[in-house]
Symmetry: C2
Subunit: 315 residues, 2 copies
């Protein structure tokens, strides 16, 4: 592939930024990669591993002459970084980010983008539970979605160029407006994560059931909650604080619905429960048909000793 | 291995019973296997596949001369079956079951067990989303837990024999009393399933987010909810109706906790959220350390196209 941006500056050098660096180099779509991280150890690692050509102690130095600047810091930290780099951005450059929430990022960053610089927010739906500069790998975005949420000010050419860049790293790219992105993610990600955190918390301090039992028998369904509840606390704190309205909206619907089912259990309304559970199966089939998951029992999960295979029909 | 029960009768020939038949034959721990299913097609399948030596149109004929009788029907159907077979059980025989709830099964079955016959309830924590006589396979119970909940009347010899039988089929066996079993399962399985059913239901009828989007971006966390929400509606209806008290108890704790976090989001109490999310990570680590799951990103799930790999750090 040919070079899409002559110089890319990565602000923040964690899992996502380091994976992007590996991926863009593998694809040959970046001329050079500059990086900035607050921690000197992280900057050193970036050079040692070799996914950055140069690293800088300040974000302002890192963005100098960059054609693409990617903000890969927690959502809560973006406003300060944007204010810092704004005056140092090269005319014609494009600023993007990888935040999990988009309206808040736009509010934090857009005001600091000068005339003649584009801002195209992005959110790659990819990650692992690991973090830091050592955790990145080139294939992280392959066949994953990257959602672009252009603002009215984003020039179509700038959006098209960023799309080509993400496609070059192997991602499938979709565009939607920021409020819709935040609602969709509240449904498919943010609320499920809060619920998982909650269920794991309940199990954690339940006295009559020892943690050892919870862990031992976790394959009975609970384990999948612990997986999604294992994500980075700082990132998730920022997600809920910055996607507050959509999350509270979906949470409200969730609790209404849960109370309806709770009442059906209390009233022993078997018909209502059966009808409800029958409806929810269809979505799962849709996900398998859409190739979003495997139909193999337990997703073809690598079985571990002691009941590791998740249970679908029989708990 | 040597024969543990000369004759085993399976009442109900679905996923669990057919898997037991395959497993006990492979291990050579059953002299002969008799089966009963209401549906003639199922009985025919059992003979064609060959996991039963004989099938019977009535449960009473199937249990004749059986040394072990396994009730593998939905929990709601056990009382009627027990009443039917009670008078036909062979003296010295052992009756067991595979129900997901144990107190309700004991209440339904125990009154029908005659003098001189043992009753040892059991619950293998294993299954897949598939069902019926064709879905069984010999390795289903390998390295899975099977929980025995003996009653005060169960003779230790009978319990030991059933334990050896399940170990012969590859399971790890634990014993606990029925009320504790029902509470543990309410925490690790029943409540998580109800919550998953609910979240999937919310997404299903959310108008502003099309199902296609929910499915397309499901790898962002939601997919794991759809997996556990895909289980058999009849089985789950019976689970919630028969483990009502424990499920309502855990649900109550869950909603209290959820409201606390919901309030923290509304009040923008980032510290409380961060502290909570940090605590829940420990349980996940415990599960990986205990060998209940793999630490490989996304559990080493077989990646499917279009974002199938689950996202741990970045939604």
């Amino acid at each position: 592939m040919s070079v899409i941006y002559q110089r890319v500056a990565l602000i923040g050098l964690g899992l996502i930024a380091s994976s992007m660096a590996h991926a863009m180099r593998e694809a040959g779509i970046a001329g050079s990669v500059a990086g900035h991280a607050k921690s000197e150890a992280t900057r050193k690692a970036a050079l040692e591993i070799g996914f950055c050509d140069e690293v800088f102690a300040t974000a302002t130095d890192a963005v100098k002459d960059a054609d693409l600047v990617v903000l890969a810091v927690p959502v809560g930290a973006m406003a300060a970084i944007a204010a810092e780099i704004g005056p140092h951005l090269k005319p014609g450059a494009c600023v993007s980010d990888v935040g999990s929430v988009k309206q808040a990022v736009i509010e934090a960053v857009a005001p600091h983008i000068p005339e003649g610089v584009d801002f195209v927010p992005a959110h790659p739906l990819a990650g692992t539970e690991h973090s830091g500069p050592h955790s990145g790998f080139a294939s992280l975005f392959r066949n994953r979605w990257c959602l672009l949420t252009p603002t009215p000010q984003s020039r179509p050419e700038a959006v098209a160029q960023l799309r080509a860049f993400w496609e070059g790293m192997g991602a499938n790219v979709d565009e939607m407006d920021a409020p819709h992105h935040d609602l969709v993610l509240a449904v498919v990600s943010h609320t499920p994560h809060l619920i998982a955190f909650t269920m794991v918390g309940v199990a954690d301090h339940l006295r009559r059931v020892s943690n050892s039992e919870v862990i031992k028998y976790s394959a009975s369904g609970f384990r999948d909650f612990t997986r999604i509840a294992a994500s980075d606390p700082t990132m998730w704190r920022d997600v809920f604080l910055t996607n507050k309205e959509a999350t509270l909206d979906i949470l409200g619907r969730f609790t209404e619905e849960l109370f309806m089912l709770q009442r059906a259990i209390r009233m022993e309304d078997g018909e209502q429960l059966h009808a409800y559970f029958t409806r929810t199966r269809a979505i799962r089939r849709g996900i398998i048909d859409a190739g979003q998951d495997t139909a193999a029992p337990d997703f073809g999960r690598v079985a571990a000793a002691g009941g590791a295979t998740a249970l679908k029909g029989k708990e």
